[in-house]
Amino acid sequence: MKARWMRGGVSAALALLGLLLLTFMIGRVMPLDPVLAIVGPDADRATYEQVHHQLGLDRPLWVQFGRYLGDLAQGDLGHALLTGRPVTEDLARVLPATVELATLAILLGALLGVPLGVWAASHHKRLPDHLARVLGLLGHSTPVFWFGMMGLLVFYAWLGWAGGIGRIGLGYEGTIPRVTGLMLVDTLLAGDMAAFRSALRHLLLPACVLGLHSMAYLSRMTRSFMLAQLSQEYITTARVKGLSRRRVVWGHAFLNIRVQLLTILALAYGGLLEGAVLVETVFGWPGFGSYLTSSLLLGDMNAVMGSVLVIGLLFVALNLTADALYRVFDPRARA
C-alpha cells in the first residue's frame, strides 16, 4: 500500500516537472515580449534593456529554469508582471472565484445530466432517448459564450432576474471582507444578506451556462455507460426475477457505473476549473481561466507557470480522490 502511494507520488512529481519544463520552453519560444508590455511601446532602448535584465531574460534558458525550480522548492512562484504581486497571492485570489463557479456548475450538471442519461438509456430509441440526445447535442455543440450572451440578454437585460457581470453588484465591490474568497460564504460571514442575494444572483446564471455544458457531456456519457450495463445478462436475470424496472435501473445497473461516472465527473470538474475562461470572459468573472489567459497573452511566464502547476496539482488531486473513491464503490479495487 505504502509502496503504491510512493509510486503514485513519484509519478505525479515527474509529471508536474515535465509539465513545467514544457510550459517554460513553449513560453520562451512564443512571439510575445513581456518587457514591451511593461515599458510600453514608446520606451527607449536603455529602459527596455534595463527591464529585460531585471527580469533575468538575458540569462541562458537553463539558468532561468533552474532558478525557477530553486525558488519553487522554497514555495516562491515569483512575481506576476500582470499584477506586480506574488503569483501565490494572485492564485489565492482567483482560484476561489473559479472553484465557486465550477462547483455549482458541476453540481447542476451532475444533478441534471446523470438522471437524464439514465432516463435516456432506460428508454432506448424512444422519445426520452431522442430528447436527451438532442439536448446533449445542443448543450455540447452550442458555443458556451453564445449561451452566456443569450442568457445575459434574456435573464439579465430583459427579465432582470439574474445579476450582471462580476461576482457581486458593483456597488458592493470591495466592501465585503475577504475570508474564504468564496463570495457566497464571505457575504454570509459578513452578515450582509443583501450582498449575499446579490452574489447569488450573479453566480446562478454563469453557473447554469457552464453547468449546461457539463450536463450535456455527463448525460451522454451516463447514457452510454448505462446502455452497456442494461444489455448485460445480470439485468435480464433481474428482470426475469420480477424486479421493478426502477429497481433494475437504479438498484443494479446504475450501481455498476458509479466508478466510471466518478472518473468522468473528476475530469469534467477539472476541465471546468481550468477551462471556464469563455464563461469568465462573458460574465466578467475574475477567475482562474481569465487570469491564465491574460497572463499568456502578456507573456507573463511566472503567472503562466504557477497556473499550470496549479492545474497539474488539481488534476493529480482529483485523480487521487477518484482512486480513493473507487475503493469505496468497487470491492474488487480494495484487493
Binding site: 510575445l32 515580449d33 511601446p41 500582470l82 456597488g171 458592493y172 466578467g284
Partner: protein, 540 residues
C-alpha cells in the same frame, strides 16, 4: 379557523415573498458611487515612474496632483494646480514654480517643493518607461539633483539641461503621469532593495489627490474613496469603482440596465445603438494619438518614394475608411500634427486613385504589383482598416496578406523593423504641441539599426530625412511664435512632399457612453479625466 388559516396564507404567499426578496436585491447601494466599466488590460502599474497608457492616466489623475493642469476644454491652456504661479527665466532655460502652502498628502504630511523635486528625480533615477520624455529634454539620472531642486519649501526650480521650448516642458508637467507629486516619506517607508518604492507603488498610491486608492485587483477591479482631506472642494461622490470589462455587449447590457454609469471601449455598433436611448449620452474626446498605415522604408521596395506614394497616397481609401470603419474610433486626419494647434495645416487632398498608383508602380519597375504583408492588431478598428487596405492595394495588383496579432506582437515587430506594412496607432504625446506629434511620428535623428531608437516611430519605419529633422529641431528652439509656426508648417509640407513612411489616417477618438444622470463629467484629451466634480442624480 384563524390558526389554521395562517400557515395556509404563508404557504400561498411564499413565492411572492421570495420574489420580492429577490427583486429587493436589485436595489444596490450605488447612488453615491460612480461605476465605470472599461478595459483595464493596459493598467499594469500605478507607479508614476512606470505607468503607461490612457488607463493609468485615467486612474492616477484622481489619486495624485500635478504642478499644473491642462484645461479639459482647451488642450493648449495651462491652469495652476499645486503650483499657483510659475515663471520663465535665464533665457527660457529656467522654470520656477511657486507651490501652494495648504496641500497635504493622504498621509497627512504637508506637500512641499522637496516632494515635487524628489518625485521628478525619482522618475529619472528609476529610468523606467516614463523617464523617456524627460530624457528627451536632456534630464538624466546624473544631472537630476542639479537641474531639479527645491529652493525652499514652496519654490521648485527646473533648469533645462539643453535648449528646448519651455512650453513643452510645462505641458509635460501638466499631462504626464511622471509629473505627479509623491509623498516621499510614505514611498520610502516601503522601499525594497533600493527600488525607491517602485514595487510598492505598482499597486499602491501615495498622493494628494481628491481620491485615495482603496483596492486594486489587476484586470478585475479598482476602487477609490473620497479623500478625507483635500485642498480643493471635496469630491462630490463617495466612491469610484472601475470594473475591468472587455466585452462590448456586456457593457452595453449593463448600461441599459443602469448598473453602470460610464462605459468605455464599446464597439461602434453598440455605441450606435446606445446613442438612440434617451437615458444615455455619447461623449467623444479627441486624443493626439493617430491611427496610421506605416511601411518599412528599410525594405528595398518601400525605400522607393514612388512605391510609398502609390501605397500611402493613392491606395488608401481615406474617405471610405473614415466613413465606414472609423466612426466612434477616430476622425479623418492625414497630417501628423492634429488640428486645433497654431501649427496645424488643412487636410491634404489625397485621393484614392488606383490608376495613378499603377502608373507609379510601373515607373518603379513593378507593373504587376508585388506580394506583401500587413501586420495588424486583431481588434476593431484595426482589422477593418487592414481589410479595406488589402482590398484597395489589390486594385493596383499588390497582393497583401493580413497577419493579425496582439499589440505586443505587432509593435514588437515594428520595434525590430521586421515588418512590411503595419496598421497601427500611436504617436502624439499627451502634450498639445506640434513637437510632441512630429517627434513621435516623424523625427528620426539616427537611422542606423544599431541606434535602436525604437521609441521613435520614425526610426521604426526606417525613414530618415536630415532636413526634416533640422526643421523640427529648429522649430523647437525658436522663441518667436510666428516663426516657430512657419517652421512647423515647412516640416509638415516636406514630410508631405517626400512621402514619409508613416501615413496618418485618423485622429483617435475616445468614446464613452454615460448615463444622463451623471453630471459634471468631462473627458480630458490627455486621458487625465478628473472625477472630483462628477455627481449623480439620485435613482428614481
Amino acid at each position: 379557523m384563524a390558526l389554521a388559516s395562517v400557515p395556509t396564507l404563508r404557504r400561498r404567499h411564499l413565492p411572492v415573498l421570495l420574489a420580492a426578496s429577490w427583486q429587493a436585491a436589485r436595489a444596490e447601494p450605488a447612488d453615491d458611487q460612480l461605476l465605470i466599466g472599461m478595459s483595464m488590460n493596459n493598467l499594469l502599474s500605478l507607479d508614476p515612474a512606470a505607468a503607461t497608457g490612457l488607463d493609468a492616466a485615467t486612474v492616477a489623475c484622481n489619486l495624485y496632483d500635478s504642478l499644473l493642469e491642462v484645461d479639459a476644454g482647451n488642450a493648449t491652456r495651462l491652469k495652476p494646480s499645486l503650483a499657483q504661479a510659475w515663471e520663465l527665466g535665464d533665457g527660457g532655460r529656467r522654470l520656477t514654480f511657486r507651490l501652494r502652502t495648504d496641500v497635504r498628502f493622504a498621509s497627512g504630511q504637508p506637500l512641499t517643493a522637496a516632494h515635487a523635486a524628489w518625485s521628478l528625480q525619482r522618475v529619472l533615477r528609476l529610468n523606467l518607461a516614463m523617464a523617456s520624455v524627460w530624457k528627451s529634454y536632456g534630464f538624466t539620472a546624473g544631472n537630476a539633483d542639479a537641474s531639479i531642486r527645491a529652493e525652499d519649501a514652496q519654490t521648485l526650480v527646473l533648469d533645462l539641461p539643453q535648449p528646448t521650448d519651455p512650453t513643452l516642458v510645462l505641458m509635460t508637467l501638466a499631462t504626464s503621469i511622471s509629473g505627479y507629486v509623491l509623498d516621499r516619506d510614505t514611498v520610502l517607508a516601503h522601499e525594497q532593495r533600493g527600488d525607491l518604492g517602485h514595487a510598492w507603488l505598482t499597486t499602491h498610491a501615495a498622493g494628494s489627490g481628491p481620491f485615495e486608492l482603496e483596492d486594486w485587483r489587476p484586470k478585475e477591479l479598482l476602487t477609490m474613496r473620497r479623500a478625507a482631506r483635500y485642498w480643493q472642494p471635496a469630491a462630490k461622490l463617495r466612491r469610484v469603482v472601475f470594473r475591468h470589462m472587455t466585452e462590448s455587449q456586456t457593457l452595453r447590457l449593463m448600461l441599459m440596465r443602469g448598473d453602470l454609469d460610464i462605459a468605455g471601449g464599446l464597439s461602434a455598433p453598440d455605441v450606435r445603438a446606445l446613442a438612440k436611448r434617451p437615458d444615455l449620452v455619447v461623449e467623444e474626446v479627441r486624443r493626439a494619438t493617430m491611427y496610421y498605415v506605416a511601411v518599412n522604408a528599410r525594405h528595398p521596395r518601400f525605400a522607393d518614394e514612388r512605391v510609398r506614394r502609390a501605397v500611402l497616397r493613392h491606395l488608401i481609401d481615406f474617405q471610405g475608411v473614415a466613413g465606414s470603419v472609423l466612426p466612434f474610433y477616430g476622425e479623418l486626419q492625414m497630417r501628423p500634427v492634429p488640428p486645433g494647434l497654431p501649427a496645424s495645416l488643412p487636410q491634404p487632398a489625397y485621393t484614392f486613385d488606383p490608376a495613378a498608383a499603377r502608373r507609379l508602380l510601373a515607373e518603379a519597375g513593378m507593373p504587376g504589383g508585388f506580394d506583401t504583408t500587413i501586420r495588424v492588431v486583431a481588434e476593431a478598428p484595426f482589422t477593418g482598416i487592414a481589410t479595406s487596405l488589402q482590398a484597395t492595394l489589390a486594385e493596383a495588383g499588390i497582393r497583401a496578406s493580413i497577419l493579425p496579432g496582439t499589440g505586443n506582437q505587432v509593435y514588437g515587430a515594428m520595434r525590430e523593423r521586421s515588418f512590411e506594412i503595419v496598421v497601427g496607432r500611436g504617436g502624439g504625446g499627451a502634450e498639445a504641441h506640434p513637437h510632441s506629434s512630429l517627434r513621435a511620428l516623424v523625427y528620426n535623428p539616427d537611422n542606423r539599426d544599431s541606434a535602436r531608437l525604437s521609441n521613435f516611430q520614425g526610426w521604426r519605419t526606417g525613414y530618415a530625412d536630415a532636413e526634416l529633422n533640422r526643421l523640427i529641431e529648429r522649430a523647437l528652439l525658436t522663441p518667436d511664435t510666428a516663426e516657430q509656426v512657419e517652421l512647423y508648417h515647412q516640416a509638415q509640407q516636406r514630410f508631405d512632399a517626400r512621402v514619409g513612411a508613416i501615413q496618418p489616417i485618423a485622429q483617435m477618438l475616445d468614446t464613452q457612453v454615460l448615463r444622463r444622470a451623471v453630471r459634471g463629467y468631462q473627458g480630458h484629451p490627455s486621458g487625465a479625466t478628473r472625477l472630483r466634480e462628477v455627481s449623480k442624480d439620485a435613482s428614481p
